[in-house]
Every structure is written in C-alpha cells, then in structure tokens.
Symmetry: C2
Subunit: 354 residues, 2 copies
C-alpha cells in the first residue's frame, strides 16, 4: 500500500513523541511491505514563532494533500497565563479541526493489564473496563460566537449545536456500539441547557434506527462521578465537545496515565491521530515523555485511515510486549518498578521497535 503521511509534532513533548510514532510507522511499512512517504509541518507555538500564524496556510495545504496526519500536541505556558494574548497555539488546533471537518474524536480508554497497578483507582474497579468515547469536535462552545462587552468587563461564549451536527456524531457512536457491547451512553446537561435538550432529543430520535443498542442518557455531572465509581458499566459514550474534553481527560486515569491514550479525529477528509496528552512543557526536551500514546495513535491511523488491522494489532502487541517485559516510563511506574526498568522516550521507543 502506498500512502503519504504528514507528521505535525507541534509543541513541547509533541516533537519527542511523534518521532517515536513515526519510527513505528516506518518499521511497519518495512515489515509489511508498504510504501509510506512522509512530510512534516508546523502548528501551534512553534508555528507562531516561525510565521506568526498558529496554523500557517502551508501546513493546511500539506494536511489536505496527505492520507493521514500523525499529530503531537499544541500549547505553551507563555499564553496560558496571559488572558490578553491575541494569537494562541490552540487556535491552530481548533482551526485545523474545523477546516478538515474533523467532527468525530474517538478516544478509546482501555487498560493494559500490566498497568492495573499504575492507576490511582483500585485494580478491581478497573479490571475489564473498556470505553470508547465519541467526542464531538467541531461545534459547541469551542466554535460559537465569543466576545467582550461592557468595556471588557463582561465576556461570553456561545454553546451552540445544530441537529445535523448531533446526528452525524451520534450515528458514528451507534455504529461503533453495534460492533462492541451494544450499549451507548449519551452525556449532556439537558436539565439546564437548551443545546443539551436539542442533543438529547436528536439522539432519542436516532435510537429507533438501532433497536439492538441500549441507549441511556446521563447528565454530565453524574457521568463524571460514575466514571470513577464504576468504569466497567460504560461501553460507548457520545458527548459534546466541552463535556468530552473534560470526561476523556478524567477517564485517562482509568488507563493508568494520559501517556497511554491515543485519539483519532475523523470526519469529512484526512484523519488526524494524536495523543490525548498535551504539550507538557514541564518535561519537554528532557527525553522523559511516554511515547506510547503517539505509538498507539499510529496504530489507530493504520487501522482507521488505512484499514490495516493486522499492522495496527502488531503495534499494539509491541506496546503490550514492552509492558509485559516490565519496561515503564516515569508516568506509569509504580513504587514497585525497579529503577533500571524506568526508561526515557527514546529507550522505550527502541524497545517497542524491537
């Protein structure tokens, strides 16, 4: 198979982890006889530094021309504490999602058995948990009108959804539920929000098309509680952009660490594959970052964008083997992990490759 992959490392540890992710793709191509070509492009803080624009036109052109995108992370502490910054790394990320029509963000939460002890949650609560989140990614308060009014003393954002936006993500979630445990939970705040009521009635209207899927509706506060109390009761979850942002980060603790979680953003065109962790500037450049989320993102890329299931499974098996052999990065080490088994980004990357 011939494919063109764009690597977009972005900021902070994005660079280090996508390097390993790309090496894994190269190895898979060699092993399975595919021809993958690569290009690279800028986004986020590094793009602002280089061009003044968090998503330069050149990057967007390269994105549209590629078959899949391996993405790192965006963000820089410098902007976080400056509420007045006009240009921000995150604008690049949001614009990319919108421009490429990436309305469905898939976040599988599955714990590798070897990491059962790495979580702050009890192993018996976690064992067997396997959740697939569908987070809507191009609507909600992320893209509604926002403004300062009254001499800058009042600010608003608009949480907005249209029926077709809810329908298309809900359908994807129902389809996925059909191939899994046939349970779908839709999360909203319909007891307060009008946009949530639209969300709920739209999901309710689609449900009869999938009579085999058992649908439940939960308020976001209650879902946030249930995720920790009893993660095993979840199968597929579908929710809006903001609630999905919060719940999937929370749910990362079910998988032991954010460093293990990959995501796929798909929709109208080229898919984007990225860790759910951020740019983590505190450990950037130190070679400490866990590259497994990027490696598992590469697996999702092979599976979803290229339909290469066997290759994807080979990648997951490699990560599993490295964990079984006892190797860990700092974020997933426990007090029982021997010091010499705690590796840096490149070293654990090398283990995964071999």
């Amino acid at each position: 198979m011939k494919k063109h992959i764009l690597v977009v490392p972005g900021d902070g540890i994005g660079q280090e982890v996508t390097t390993v992710g790309k090496q894994v793709l190269e190895k898979i191509a060699a092993k399975f006889g595919h021809e993958f070509t690569y290009d690279e492009a800028l986004i986020g803080h590094v793009a602002i530094e280089a061009t003044g624009d968090p998503l330069p036109e050149e990057t967007l052109v390269k994105m549209r021309a590629s078959d899949a995108i391996l993405f790192g992370a965006v963000g820089h502490i410098k902007y976080d504490n400056d509420p007045h910054a006009k240009v921000r790394p995150e604008q690049g990320l949001l614009k990319m999602r919108k421009e490429l029509g990436l309305y469905a963000n898939l976040r599988p939460i599955k714990l590798f058995d070897e990491l059962l002890e790495a979580s702050s949650i009890k192993p018996e609560i976690l064992k067997g948990a396997d959740i697939l989140f569908f987070r809507e990614l191009t609507g909600d308060v992320y893209f509604g009108k926002r403004e300062r009014i009254e001499d800058g003393n009042t600010a608003y954002d608009t949480m907005i959804y249209s029926k077709y936006e809810v329908e298309r993500i809900a359908r994807k979630a129902f389809e996925a539920a059909m191939t899994r445990g046939k349970k779908l939970m839709s999360v909203d705040k319909a007891n307060v929000l009008e946009s949530s009521r639209l969300w709920r009635e739209t999901v309710q209207a689609i449900a009869p098309e999938y009579p085999e899927v058992e649908v439940t509706h939960q308020f976001v506060d209650s879902a946030a509680m249930m995720l920790i109390k009893d993660p095993k009761q979840f199968d597929v979850v579908v929710t809006g952009n903001l609630f999905g942002d919060i719940l999937t980060d929370e749910a990362s603790q079910i998988a032991g660490s954010m460093g293990m979680l990959a995501s796929a953003s798909v929709g109208d065109s080229t898919g984007v594959y990225e860790p759910i962790h951020g740019s983590a500037h505190d450990i950037a450049g130190k070679g400490l970052a866990n590259p497994m989320a990027s490696v598992l993102s590469a697996a999702l890329l092979l599976d979803i964008s290229f339909g290469l299931k066997e290759e994807a499974n080979a990648v997951i098996a490699a990560v599993d083997a490295v964990l079984k052999a006892g190797f860990r990065t700092g974020d997933i080490a426990t007090k029982d992990t021997p010091k010499d088994m705690i590796l840096g980004t490149d070293a654990i990357g090398a283990e995964i490759l071999s």
Copy 2:
C-alpha cells in the same frame, strides 16, 4: 439563640434525608439550649404537582423570612427524558439561587477515616485529602440567554461572566484559603473561552491582595484528571458554575460516596444547606437513602449561618461516632461490612441522634 429554619425537602429522597437533618437540628437545640422554630415549603416536582410552579411565591416568601434553609433535592425522571417539557423542577432550584443571591456554593470534600475503603480510589491516594470547592452559583451558562433558532433545529446557551461576579466568589475563596492551607486553584478553560479569560484575569488581579496565598490556574480538563490522580495536592478550588457542577460531583468519589457530601450556598441573604446528591428516584421512598449528607448540611448551617461552631462539631462527631461504631448505609458499605451493620435512613438517623 432564637432562629427560624425553613425545611424544603423537594423531590425523591429529599423528603427522607431532610427529616433526619431536621431531627438533628432539634436535638442540638435541646442539648445546647437554643430555640429553633421550623416551617416547611415546596419546591421542584412536588411544587409543580401542587401548584404548577417549581418555585411558588409562597415558598420564596417563607425563604426570605427564614434565618437558614435546610434543603433536600429537586428533579424527577419524568422531565429528564422529555426535552420538550416547558416547566421543570430544576427551574425552581435555579430561580431560588438567583432570587436569594446565593452566588457562592461551598462544597467541602473530606473523607471520614472510616470510609477510606468505601471509595473506588486507592486508600493511599485518598488519605489526608481535604478540599474545599467554591463553585460560583448564579452566573455562567446556567443563567445566560438560551434559545431555539432555525425552526428549532439549532439551540444555544450563553456562557457569560462579569468581572464583579468573579471577584466576589474569588474573594470568598481567597479568604477561605487564608484560614486553611493557603493554596488556591482557579479552574477555567482560558485556552479556549473568552469568559474563562475574564475569569482568569480577574483572579490574577485579586491575587496580590492575598500575597500569602499560592495561586495556580488549571484548565478544567486537566483539573478533572488531577482530582483523581492526586487529590491531596488540592486545598481550595474556585471555579464557575458549570465546571463546579462537574468537578464537585466527580470529587464526591474522593469522599467515598455522594451520600456523605454537604454543601452550603451563601451570598446576599439567607443561606441554603443541602446534600450534593440529587433526588435519586431509583431509591426514593424505600428508606435506603444515606441521610448523612443532610445531617452534615445541618452542621454547615449551624456553623456558617448561625456561627455555632461547637454545635456543628458535635454533629460531625456524631456522624463520625456512628461510622466508627461500624454502621453504614448501602452506598458506603464495602464487601467486608457485616449485613446487620447496613442500616436504612431512619435507623442510621436514630444512631446519629443517640
């Protein structure tokens, strides 16, 4: 001390738990020689059934005339799955908060040592965790303009904050931090939302008034993750209405169960004291509900509205003694709890009283 207390049980288990909460107040009055008088009023679904209005004028008049309000819960499953319902129980709750100017919702999260095993989180992660949330309660997307447009196919809500709203809740949080661990975390989504950027810059502007308090700012997704990963790092948290709703429900798992958590809503006039759990219709009327959140709400009422610290501590000590004696309700029982130590609402209420 002479005080007039309004009991507002509301819906579902609200009735059962406030009955115990009120008994505790009566007992305290008798023991410490106070003269508490009581009245009762309707809100929520029961008020809709009786009057058509989720917050009847009569209730509001009684609320304004009282020195403190012991509140139950509102909500009914009947409205939850009907996105078209025009009148909803929650409207009563929201209107009460707005009318009484209850802009500060305090939610202390503290684990009773005896319940260390009841949580899904590991005991060693929890031990010593002690968090005080300040959730803003009369602004945000809860009270901004909301509407259906485009023939009902699009819906929006407005997430809106003004500087003075952020200032007053932030000041309360800073003051509380001064009496505790002197650490304040402000939670927002300033990398995306304009209302969050206003929130952050307002908190930043107040910070110099409290030089002893160490202030940090976290994005809500990251805070949701940290709460589970390492709850001990939190002291005081201040956040908006929606993020506070989600994070405090999530944080209930740190305390073992929602059934243990009380909250105080204070502001311009009469304070309202209520469990953070909802109406829980699945167990309502069965005598199974854990009344401790209502009892601990009564303790907060004594402490905050009446300044009766000793009395409040007596209530907390009674709850502690019952837990130490091994009594549990279903929600906080573990697999090691002997069956005959698992009590219903009234029975555990009687233990607390004695």
